[in-house]
């Protein structure tokens, strides 16, 4: 999908949410389309993708038909979109997918399967203990996995750097075999689409 198509999809979801047609939380991307398209240039159909509660772009770029993604979002499942046939797993628990991704990578390595795991995480998640365990273990065991740290500077509404009293984060600027990092600014709030919806 193109940058314009990704943005149009999120605008459609935003409109559906703001008119009360989605009776569950949504978390929208914006401003990172080019970076995401770049990441997905190397992701193949047999590869696994693990995401957080903000995962619409990953699903679309992995090849899930947009009608199916929209259907799941409208059904209220935006925060944990799972598409087994496309090898996508998302979770609403902070850091929840990281060790699961590690286990999937170890399984792939042991079975000699030609696939790789890609695990997306926010910059606040990347500061947590489970992230450091998962990344360290993966590096040390040479697992077929890559972590993508997406930095929008916020965790819900909390300023990540201020909360940690740390002007430079652990993986900021890192680009190596196991970790990529990019920064972006989204126009949407953490959840919802900017309009208070009263059900």
């Amino acid at each position: 999908m193109t940058k314009e198509e990704l943005i149009a999809f999120e605008e459609e979801i935003a409109a559906l949410f703001n008119t009360g047609n989605i009776r569950a939380p949504v978390h929208l991307y914006f401003g990172n389309e080019e970076q995401m398209i770049g990441v997905f240039r190397t992701i193949r159909s047999q590869d696994w993708v693990f995401c957080s509660w903000r995962s619409h772009y990953q699903c679309l770029l992995k090849g899930v038909p947009k009608e199916l993604v929209r259907e799941e979002i409208v059904a209220g499942r935006s925060i944990s979109l799972c598409f087994p046939e496309h090898r996508i797993y998302s979770s609403a628990i902070v850091g929840g997918v990281l060790p699961i991704a590690v286990g999937a990578a170890m399984s792939i390595q042991r079975r000699g399967e030609d696939s790789k795991v890609y695990c997306f995480l926010g910059e606040m998640t990347a500061e947590t203990g489970i992230a450091h365990e998962a990344i360290k273990y993966s590096r040390n065991h040479r697992l077929p996995i890559h972590f993508i740290v997406e930095d929008n500077a916020k965790s819900v509404c909390t300023d990540t750097r201020e909360a940690w009293n740390q002007p430079r984060l652990s993986f900021e600027g890192v680009a190596d075999e196991y970790v990529s990092y990019y920064r972006y600014e989204t126009k949407y709030p953490h959840a919802g689409a900017g309009v208070r919806v009263q059900f």
């Binding site: 087994p84 929840g96 997918v97």
Partner: protein, 178 residues
């Protein structure tokens, strides 16, 4: 057969299935009574992990997600508590989250610490079976009360075709008493 012998027999049976893999602390390295039940499991099927219970439980789910049947070992309920988020929020919920698309059959092995002849004190003898039953919607929790309970329970945990996981709860005291 004694309680210990039935456990050892069950582990050997599980290891005959090429999908199983045994993970945890003191799995390949000596360290707990449970280690001794794994003596006949091939070395390459034993994955010694760091002390990182949440990571272990997450890896358990990830392995199950991709076709393995992990036997994930937490020698005490108290240690398994450190992994509860992964257990309740992921392993137990994967099927529901994915509209029954993902099947994640794992075997979780835990125990109630032995109190005789030495009492290991309060952080080693917890039994949270009922609490976990209340928290889980798909995972089955089974206490292994008698030697005769053991093999059928592990056999069912491996062969069940509903994609659900099983927690099997052993009694440390019974290793030497039954």
């Amino acid at each position: 057969m004694t309680y210990f012998d039935e456990l050892k027999r069950s582990m050997t049976f599980l290891a005959q299935d090429p999908r199983t893999i045994f993970i945890g602390q003191a799995v390949a390295a000596a360290g707990t009574a449970m280690t001794n039940t794994l003596k006949d499991v091939p070395r390459d099927r034993l994955i010694e992990l760091p002390v990182a219970e949440e990571m272990q439980m997450g890896m358990t789910t990830g392995m199950a997600l991709t076709g393995l049947v992990p036997v994930s070992i937490f020698p005490r309920w108290n240690f398994l508590l450190c992994a509860i988020s992964q257990l309740v929020n992921h392993l137990d919920k994967v099927q529901v989250m994915s509209n029954n698309g993902y099947k994640t059959k794992a075997i979780i092995r835990t125990g109630i610490g032995s109190q005789r002849p030495l009492h290991p004190q309060h952080q080693h003898v917890g039994d949270y079976t009922e609490a976990l039953r209340a928290m889980c919607s798909t995972i089955e929790v089974i206490r292994l009360e008698e030697p005769s309970d053991i093999f059928p329970a592990y056999e069912r945990a491996l062969l069940r075709d509903d994609g659900c996981s099983t927690i099997l709860v052993e009694y440390g005291d019974y290793y030497g008493e039954k």
